[in-house]
Point group: C2
Chain length 445, copies 2
């Protein structure tokens, strides 16, 4: 199965916006015709006259929130994945807002579409059959680099699967196999710099010339990108995607932001407040939430999906790639999601897990940075055995090792109104004295 050629992608990058909109309208109408059969979308599309005659009519379709997707029962897939289960071949899951993972499914065609989107990232990273790509990734149920792996293989690069290995073993393999590219999270790229430094290895002497980073916004954050590029003497190519949505963005040539893959996604930039729950279109350069419609995942369509990502987009810009440009990439989140070692963790999901052990125990979440890695620690007014149970449950539900410390009854702050149990210490200049935040293992989940 062959993906789009580099020539086709180069052509798509140069299309003017009107040409892109014509492609989008055509593909959107194909998607809507299928989505109309989907029990989830049927009522949402009931008042929309299809086919749409113009993309301006997109706003007639209701916005889609993450919370709209969450299934009634744990274990069921997100509510847009409505085909018979036998239609799907790939299972993945998000960490979920309810403390339970939310399954997402892909059909064979949808998987190929993910890979088509990844071709844009690989083209931006100039990956060719001459490349040897190390996947520093555990290949568990999170989508992570699964699609990157298959897309790089389809493109003809040699791919080294790095699941279940220590950082040291991965570094050894990068050296032994003369890897030219590396896929990992930005913090893991930094972590490898620290490990190499301890081992006296010089990463700048490796053959790695590009790092494709995803899972966290670091690849478009100048300080982080620069530290990675300096440590590796290699170029960072950012990538953005989401399990519910697909692989939607890739790092711009100036390394200062992201492009949205507009041949595969329709991007809206909307501002929301209490008076405008349906959003107001934002102007170029204005901070807004990114709302995306994926055009190729027919087995689980994401139509007008509120990503929660805050961006500053520019339609008018001087980049060679004409796709919508997001200066600085994803600037932040509209909610207070944490990203721990590449896994999205919501305070609500942490609370839900704590509540499953003890419905009333007071607790707090402490997020720190140890070296390059984010770490989540929990202090809880629980017995040591209760903390042990809680640790197991984090491992089980989120596939994360979380440091859980028992603290004496009555010592944690109490809240009268809306509780603030998240203590985010990542911005602190030093975290060496935080007793609750032991460094986590070097192996990212």
């Amino acid at each position: 199965m062959n993906g789009p050629t580099s020539e086709l992608i180069q052509h798509q990058w140069q299309l003017d916006h009107e040409a892109v909109r014509r492609i989008q309208l055509d593909r959107l109408n194909q998607l809507l015709a299928v989505a109309g059969e989907n029990a989830f979308y049927q009522p949402r599309l009931a008042n929309v006259r299809l086919p749409l005659e113009s993309l301006d009519q997109l706003s007639e379709i209701p916005l889609l929130r993450k919370s709209d997707l969450v299934p009634d029962q744990p274990g069921l897939p997100g509510r847009v994945f409505a085909l018979p289960r036998s239609s799907y071949v790939r299972y993945h899951q998000t960490s979920g807002t309810s403390g339970h993972p939310m399954p997402v499914y892909d059909t064979p065609d949808d998987w190929q579409w993910w890979l088509d989107c990844w071709e844009h990232v690989l083209h931006a990273a100039e990956v060719t059959p001459e490349d040897v790509v190390m996947m520093a990734f555990s290949f568990g149920p999170f989508i992570g680099f699964w699609t990157a792996n298959d897309a790089a293989v389809r493109r003809g690069a040699m791919v080294i699967p790095g699941g279940g290995l220590s950082s040291e073993a991965r570094l050894q393999m990068i050296a032994d196999q003369h890897c030219t590219a590396l896929c990992c999270t930005p913090t893991y790229a930094l972590h490898l710099i620290a490990v190499a430094s301890e081992l006296g290895l010089d990463l700048r002497a490796t053959a790695v010339t590009r790092l494709i980073v995803a899972g966290e916004p670091g690849g478009s954050v100048p300080e982080i990108r620069q530290r990675i590029e300096d440590g590796w003497d290699a170029r960072v190519i950012d990538h953005s995607g989401a399990s519910e949505l697909g692989a939607w963005g890739f790092g711009s040539a100036d390394r200062r932001g992201l492009h949205v893959i507009e041949t595969e996604f329709i991007a809206e930039r909307l501002r929301f407040d209490d008076d405008t729950p349906n959003g107001v279109p934002a102007a170029d350069g204005e901070e807004a939430e990114l709302v995306l419609t994926g055009l190729g995942r027919f087995g689980g369509p994401a139509i007008r999906y509120r990503t929660g990502d805050i961006v500053r987009g520019f339609r008018e810009h001087r980049h060679a790639c004409r796709f919508l440009y997001l200066d600085g990439g994803v600037l932040g989140r509209s909610d207070d999601m944490m990203v721990v070692r590449g896994v999205n963790v919501f305070p609500s999901s942490v609370e839900s897990i704590v509540r499953s052990v003890d419905p009333t125990a007071e607790f707090r979440m402490i997020v720190t940075k140890r070296g390059a890695m984010d770490a989540l620690a929990i202090e809880a007014e629980l017995s040591p055995a209760g903390c042990e149970t809680l640790r197991d449950r984090f491992q089980q539900r989120l596939a994360l090792r979380v440091n859980v410390q028992p603290v004496a009854q009555g010592t944690l702050p109490r809240f009268e109104g809306k509780a603030r149990r998240l203590d985010d210490r990542r911005g602190a200049s030093s975290d060496r004295d935080e007793p609750a935040a032991k460094p986590e293992s070097s192996r990212p989940e």
Copy 2:
């Protein structure tokens, strides 16, 4: 990309041996024409007149030993993988006989051939698009279930990638997602029974009806198979393969042995001793070493490869599948290879790693069984720091956590002739008093 249909496979299983031999001769000549261009095979084929007119001429081609494959330098691929590196898209490795992993590569076509071979296993296991298959596998650089994963996807089953998860999390997912089939090593299948028992979970109540096991001979060993089948209330389908060779065998319908996939492999059964280094063909029912020629891996041909597997084969048998039947599966190894948690470990590779820390230190290897898992422990006349270095090196080179204990200088046995440093205690009735063999982690590498 579609694989062979179930109808085609069913047809192949019913071919008589003469029809199979005609297919084999045709495909062998195609392979030999390509292998003749391969720098490794060129001298080996120099005196063979191609194309062969009969399979009887196969014996004119030299036998291939594992040691023939080992590259001159660590990091280089096995010597049969002789195309330009850019021709290959998949990297995997064996644990190696020299203490360094030996890379094996696959081209896109070779990978599809692996998946074609796996279709026989999946057909034997009656896997359909209705199935949900859990891959209890870490998806690292060992080939393991990587090809099974892709073949099951290609067949239309839904596949759940279980890398980087604890046994408990895997069991939870098997229950939550109503998995109907499970791919793992035999010892891991047993280990999950033990974990479920501790947690009070009833595996017989899960939807799992088939376990496809590989990596160790357990699936054809009656006692082990029975324990797995009882614990899971599910059928065990054995599978045999090797990184250097491909996926060559699948469990017979009576669950008492293996069939060789003779449309994809030519099987010889040879007896070797000092007087007959080129082997003597064995009769039906006679113990012999299995020598295989893979017919579809053009980028790294294995021609007359001595598997080291001891088998008792029957050409004449009453099974519905007419392929060569190996009663009892793989009965043992012609060398003294150990299989620790699915990873092949040779005494020679252990020694090589110990020697890299201290060229002269005395040591011994102790293999034990703790519950369902094999464990390797080392006692070495090294300092505690030396033992720490050795532990790290095992993790790095073999991706195994090995328990290394320092013992006092002069306490281990010395050898005058050929040293016997392997103390295999797996057959012992009790191992509870072995101080050197702590149970290893539940996560298989």
